[in-house]
Amino acid sequence: MNNPYIVLPIILQLVAAVVLMFFWTKTKAQKVLSIIFSVAAVLVAAYLLVEVWHSGILITQSGNWKAPFGITFVADLLGVTLVLVSSIAALGVSIFSAGSMREERLKFGYYPVFHFLVMGLQGAFLTGDIFNLYVWFEVIIISSFVLMTLGGKKAQLEGAIKYVSLNLLASSLFLIGIGFLYGLTGTLNMADLSIKIKEIQNIGLVNVTGGLFLVAFGIKSAIFPMYFWLPASYHTPPPAVTAIFGGLLTKVGVYAMLRTFSLIFGGDEFMTVTISIIAALTILGGAFGAMSHRHMSKIFGYLIISHIGFMMVGISIFTEIALLGTIFYLIHDIIVKTNLFMVSGLVLKINGTQDIKDLGGLYKSYPLLSLLMAIPLFSLVGIPPLSGFWAKIFFVEGALEAGDYLLVISVILGSFLTLWIIGKVWTEVFWKKGENLPKQANGVYFDELPPIGKWSMVFPMLLLSFVSLYIGLGAKHVISLSQKIATELVDPSSYIQVVLQNQVP
């Protein structure tokens, strides 16, 4: 069904970015406007989700060129759900930045670039064209480059070199893959590709193309042999930037894999086996990396990798139940990881360090705040009935059904190691007796902030904790949503039919 309003989330972020540029040095106005625009974006996304839930997949053809000739925007349940979840996370980060970001960074256009980044994310979730997906990826990475280097500290620049070079390489590989696909099928529309790729005799070439996409998205989402840039760079920018990166950037890679492997490649045994081994190694590699570090943001950075591995489980098995787990985990992970990096940012603001050996006694000095921080920490582990728990049941169930015992073992071991790591962080940072840390000369501490500054850091954590509690306690709704998405992914015929309308032979 045609509905031009589905591009509204993209346009809203674009307008936000452009309007904010007119307030380049007026940081107060930027903060207020950014929060207003982010609230509006959440409302628009919620409206779209309701609309898609009731009337099925919506599309709009740009310039009224019929698919597969023009660029199609498709709002199916997967895309719209991610638009909603990512705009909630972006709202949280927008408020958190207002309290934690330094004036100098705000004066160099932090907020406009932030909104460009979110625009790229929304575009990637809504597009139905593979080359357009590439363009949105480039919008995302150029904005993330700017956010990562803004401020120009030594560590930031060093991390940025690694991040920039690997992401540029991944983009080149993605582009090669697109070139191959176009050469093989002569189309770029993902629904059309899905039909035409099945008619190709040369399976080897299709698999090579699939491999190129796997590597390109793999670098972006930090899966097993290609994740080393993430722990080397994610802890260097300010906490608010890390929160949006950790929550959303790697997940776009997972989304792109879900999309391409459900529509274009997939069902191939070689790919299934490869991805399942990669998933197992990603889970364990990330968890072991997290065990060996003491810097809070680095620990959480490695945990991102480990949990990307969980999501790869569903992509590898590709049955409805395992995909249900992946979708559920994706929704849960975006909210919880964003919140988690805000926690580490708040700890940094309170104590001036993120080294868990030096930290301690937070529970004694800030009991209520610690209780709030406990929610994302233990949601991540998945202590029932918190949100991480439900998805893992589906992973184990899906892997057992498929007879893939390697994945069963690594999911269980991965969850156990996550519990161990979070337990370590909790005892070291919150329970251990704290020492008086020497105060650093520059930087404002949490105690010295005015009440509004304190609230602007605590409120987004309250908001996201509330959402993740809802995902855990109201799991019934999220599961029925994920169930519907998983069905659509396993059998994309309705997607194809809506996009191509009456042209299906």
């Binding site: 560590a155 620049l157 070199i161 080149s172 090669i176 070139g179 802890h235 810097h295």
Partner: protein, 117 residues
């Protein structure tokens, strides 16, 4: 013509990868640029080369009556060139800044963010 393009594409990819694996930051960027150009030519080649048939419909015909060159790969390459240009200029500014702050061009010395625990 195809053979020549294939050779050039292979050369650009090989050169790009070789430069990427060097230790110097500056050579790494050159590698990325070479790779980007190789990819653009690859898309051009994979879109099939058709000589002397521009995709322009005759004044008195309604549709194409014979084969014509596919204009889409050129549009893709144009987009990719523009995007690549933006990203590469950012990367060049970045390495200049890194060189000013850290005073080294050697990638092996940029390991403090990896090593600290």
């Amino acid at each position: 013509m195809e053979l020549l393009l294939i050779l050039i594409i292979g050369l650009l990819h090989a050169g790009g990868l070789y430069m990427l694996l060097r230790r110097s930051m500056f050579k790494m960027i050159i590698g990325l640029i070479l790779l980007g150009n190789g990819v653009n030519l690859l898309i051009f080649l994979l879109g099939r080369l058709t000589k002397g048939h521009p995709p322009v419909i005759d004044g008195n015909a309604k549709i194409f009556s014979e084969i014509y060159a596919d204009p889409l790969p050129q549009a893709l390459i144009l987009t990719a060139i523009v995007i690549g240009f933006g990203l590469q200029s950012f990367a060049i500014i970045l390495i200049k800044r890194v060189y000013q702050v850290l005073g080294t061009d050697d990638l092996d010395e940029l390991n403090s963010t990896d090593e600290e625990i």
